[in-house]
């Protein structure tokens, strides 16, 4: 099909103003929060399920690959346009359609911002638990695609534990409902396997999520430790005490320095590690467990312990953690975030090995992570403008992942495989494992027209510049 005709078709569906195709505009759709880039052919903003379905059917018919885009905060290249693909984005489908307080669920469109949903439902004494660090900006549709996590997933699980049902559009434009508003459904758990399928099965157009009651009491503790090892011991001590905090986060020395450079989060300059622990529950529950947590922190060598209960104070304790990733920009312009997971008992050992990788490759590595569930976030710091820097980083990142896998862990805890880690998949999964996965994709999307080239190894390396024109499409 001629590109112009295709474009006219898209405009006919969503209106002229809702198709971006000028090169200058497309430049802002070529990135996400990670290092990969890919210029889409066009970006379409549908306003309804029907429009999504028609857009997809048109592109499918024209042989144009497609990818859904939330707000581009992903960290694995999930929303990066594959060569010649159009992006379908949801700024116009950003409505909270219904909050059902009795059933404790919300029905939302994919473009709803995670924090906006949480803020909205808090008016009813409810909350949306998954809270990725980008929750201020990221969308529910993207959360579904990546099965997003966040600090509070330690106690409440990730996105998949909070999605009840959804309406999705398949690669042909067919609209199908998965799951239901009831907690238990008959048949295969398709909404379960759809969640985290990184946009390769379909595009969700309506999402029903579970809401939880806001706890009576929340208390946050901040422990300052001389080194990462003692902080890791504290993590074990807390867990061994039969405590599952709502969140249990760690920041290492290099990250602390970066945070302090940008704004004073109140961390001492010589701190080796900061541990953040949040407890939720009834007042007397939080009191009792809080005392145990404080004792565990002191016992394992904390040099300072602070506690906060008011929302404002808690915000202060969290500020450094929440801003940590971005603060790394004050050390180096780019970071490559490795999302490996290891068993909790291997944290200290693996962090030691990561430090060796840092030395070997001469790359500063900052650690800021979800210690409670062993989800590391080593950030490899670099400057993409230096020739060869990225190749060096990719090699070091692969080594870090190998360390995680060797320790009994895996490649990614919450960011997804995307473009970034697809070549490392064989570290964890055999040909047969991946074949089983691909056969599920084949059941949803036999033609692989949605977000092709992601997740599974295909030997194609990172792309950092604009893609060439799509094959089969004349400009």
């Amino acid at each position: 099909m001629e590109f112009k005709k295709f474009l006219t078709g898209l405009q006919g569906i969503v209106g002229e103003a809702n198709v971006v195709f000028h090169h200058d505009d497309l430049l802002v759709f070529e990135y996400d929060g990670s290092v990969d880039r890919g210029l889409p052919y066009a970006v379409v903003f549908p306003a309804s399920t029907d429009e999504v379905s028609r857009v997809i059917a048109l592109a499918y018919g024209a042989g144009v690959p497609m990818v859904g885009r939330g707000t581009g905060t992903g960290l694995s290249g999930g929303a990066i346009a594959p060569p010649g693909a159009i992006q379908i984005a949801f700024p116009r489908m950003n409505h909270i359609l219904e909050v059902d307080t009795e059933n404790r669920l919300a029905l939302v469109e994919p473009g709803v911002i995670n924090l906006n949903l949480d803020t909205h439902v808090r008016k009813f004494g409810l909350r949306y638990a998954p809270d990725p660090s980008s929750q201020r900006a990221c969308s529910l549709g993207g959360n579904i695609a990546e099965n997003a996590g966040g600090p509070h997933c330690l106690a409440y699980g990730t996105t998949t534990n909070h999605v009840l049902g959804m309406e999705v559009v398949l690669e042909t434009g067919e609209v199908v409902n998965l799951g239901s508003l009831a907690r238990e459904t008959v048949g295969y758990d398709l909404r379960g396997v759809f969640t985290g399928s990184e946009g390769t099965f379909g595009i969700a157009t309506k999402i029903a999520v579970r809401l939880l009651p806001v706890p009576e009491s929340v208390r946050t503790f901040l422990g300052i430790f001389p080194d990462v090892e003692s902080a890791c011991t504290a993590v074990s001590a807390i867990i061994e005490n039969g405590i599952v905090p709502a969140a249990l986060e760690m920041i290492d020395a290099l990250t602390i320095q970066a945070v302090q450079k940008v704004s004073d989060a109140g961390y001492p300059d010589d701190a080796g590690a900061v541990l953040l622990i949040e407890l939720e529950g009834l007042q007397n529950e939080v009191d009792e467990i809080g005392a145990e947590v404080e004792a565990a922190l002191w016992d394992t060598g904390a040099t300072q312990v602070r506690a906060a209960e008011s929302a404002e104070e808690r915000e202060q304790l969290w500020a450094g953690r929440k801003g940590a990733l971005g603060a790394l920009g004050s050390i180096a312009p780019n970071y490559f975030l490795v999302d490996g997971v290891v068993p909790r008992t291997k944290l200290a050992q693996v962090l030691g090995q990561v430090a060796e990788v840092s030395k070997k490759y001469d790359i500063p590595i900052a650690n800021v992570f979800h210690a409670g569930d062993g989800n590391l976030h080593p950030c490899l710091l670099f400057d993409e403008r230096q020739p060869g820097a990225l190749d060096n980083i990719v090699a070091a990142g692969a080594e870090v992942l190998r360390i995680c896998v060797d320790a009994g862990g895996t490649l990614t805890g919450e960011h997804g495989v995307g473009l970034e880690k697809k070549e490392q998949m064989p570290l964890v999964f055999s040909e047969e494992d991946m074949a089983a996965m691909i056969s599920v994709r084949d059941a949803f999307a036999p033609d692989n027209a949605l977000n092709p080239g992601k997740i599974f190894p295909d030997g194609v390396q990172h792309t950092h510049s604009a893609h060439p024109a799509a094959p089969g499409m004349t400009v």
């Binding site: 409902n177 009834l282 862990g409 960011h415 998949m425 999964f429 494992d433 996965m437 599920v440 994709r441």
Partner: protein, 451 residues
Amino acid sequence: MESSLGDRLVGLLGSNAVVPVDGYNVDGLTPQAVVRPGNRLQVSEVLRWASAEQVSVLPWGGGTRMGLGNVPRKADLVLDLSRLDRLVDYQPADMTATVEAGVTLASLQEQLAPGGEFVPLESELSSRSTVGGILSVGSGGPLAHAYGLPREWLIGVSVLSADGIATKSGGKVVKNVTGYDLNKLYTGSLGTLGVIVEASFKLLPIDREAGALMASFPSLSSALSAGQKLLHSPAAPMGYQSVTSGASRRLQDSLNAASQDLGLGDPETALSFAFYSGRANATARRLEEGAALLLSAGANAVQRVEGPASNGLLRWITDAPSEMSPRSALMMKLSVPSKAAPSTSAESSDITLFGNRPEQLADPGFGTIRLFWPQAPGGAEEQPFLDAIKQTQQIAHRYGGSAVVEQCPLPIKGNIDVWGDAPDSLAIMRRIKDKFDPAGILNPGRFLGGI
């Protein structure tokens, strides 16, 4: 004449692995052979062979839920996995455990207890139910409001495909988005996509204190609406179950002393149970506030049950459907949005079978309602069953839920899809089944839509 299936299996695995077929009936069908492999490799060999020979395979755990699902199209070979019962890996500090599929839930909990932890799976007859079976069924129990379904706790699974190839998904860490989440696909697939041989779980610490409230209400509907109030309060329990008086009769026998103050004489009376656990102070506060709330919400009387007695109560209510089974002609399980539980329950109570209303076991928090129509003399006529099933399914569908026939006379079972109407995603499910089991040998016909 060709040698029997059993003989050929003896040739394949040795005589130890092949056991007599007695007691292995599925929906009245006796398999030609039963094989009980001693390790994963043998399971793989059986499957590879069965796949090549077009022999249908019915995976078997503890055999407690083999009545679930449609009548199999073919039942050549039962694959008993009970010898695969090792705890493979357990690190208390990681709060994860990896087990073989044939281990029973009770045995697993016993092995985890010294580490101060447990796996939040719930199942009837836990001393017989195996982990593999629980995953295949995918259902929860009385504490589903707090723990959800097995899908929430499974972090990794090793599966042998229909042709015996080993695959895995997930891993041994508690947070993992590497590759597609096939754990979710296998959980609740009733063994139609592969044979689960090993599973890894996220664990929880055993709570220090446990307690329960037992309350009698003038009616089931008042018990359910009180339950919803309780579940939406700060004194929310881990689970809340209400039963009709007929269903609770056996409980009255077993807990006679405890329940005599509850005034359970009236046949309209319903009994509710609210289960709590946690730290001592918080549990005490919840029990106290919960009791007051139930009284103000219309309970006739409320009783506190503490310590081990509350665990006994929980076990009784968990096993209640199995207890009810021999006396029931028809058992159905409805899953609806929690808000719809009271009306679903009320409307279902009017559906009679041979003049009998159903006894009920209802969970207004999770939205599960189980209906038990008692056996009636001369009740073999087909149409009344079909009518009752249809009416029940209509109610569930109207509230956006589903209704599954868990037990009914065999002749009727052969004429219906026990899972009810198929959702519009059935075509995708069929395609998945075709990809995973192209020869169609795994539990053929038992699943939704004849998968």
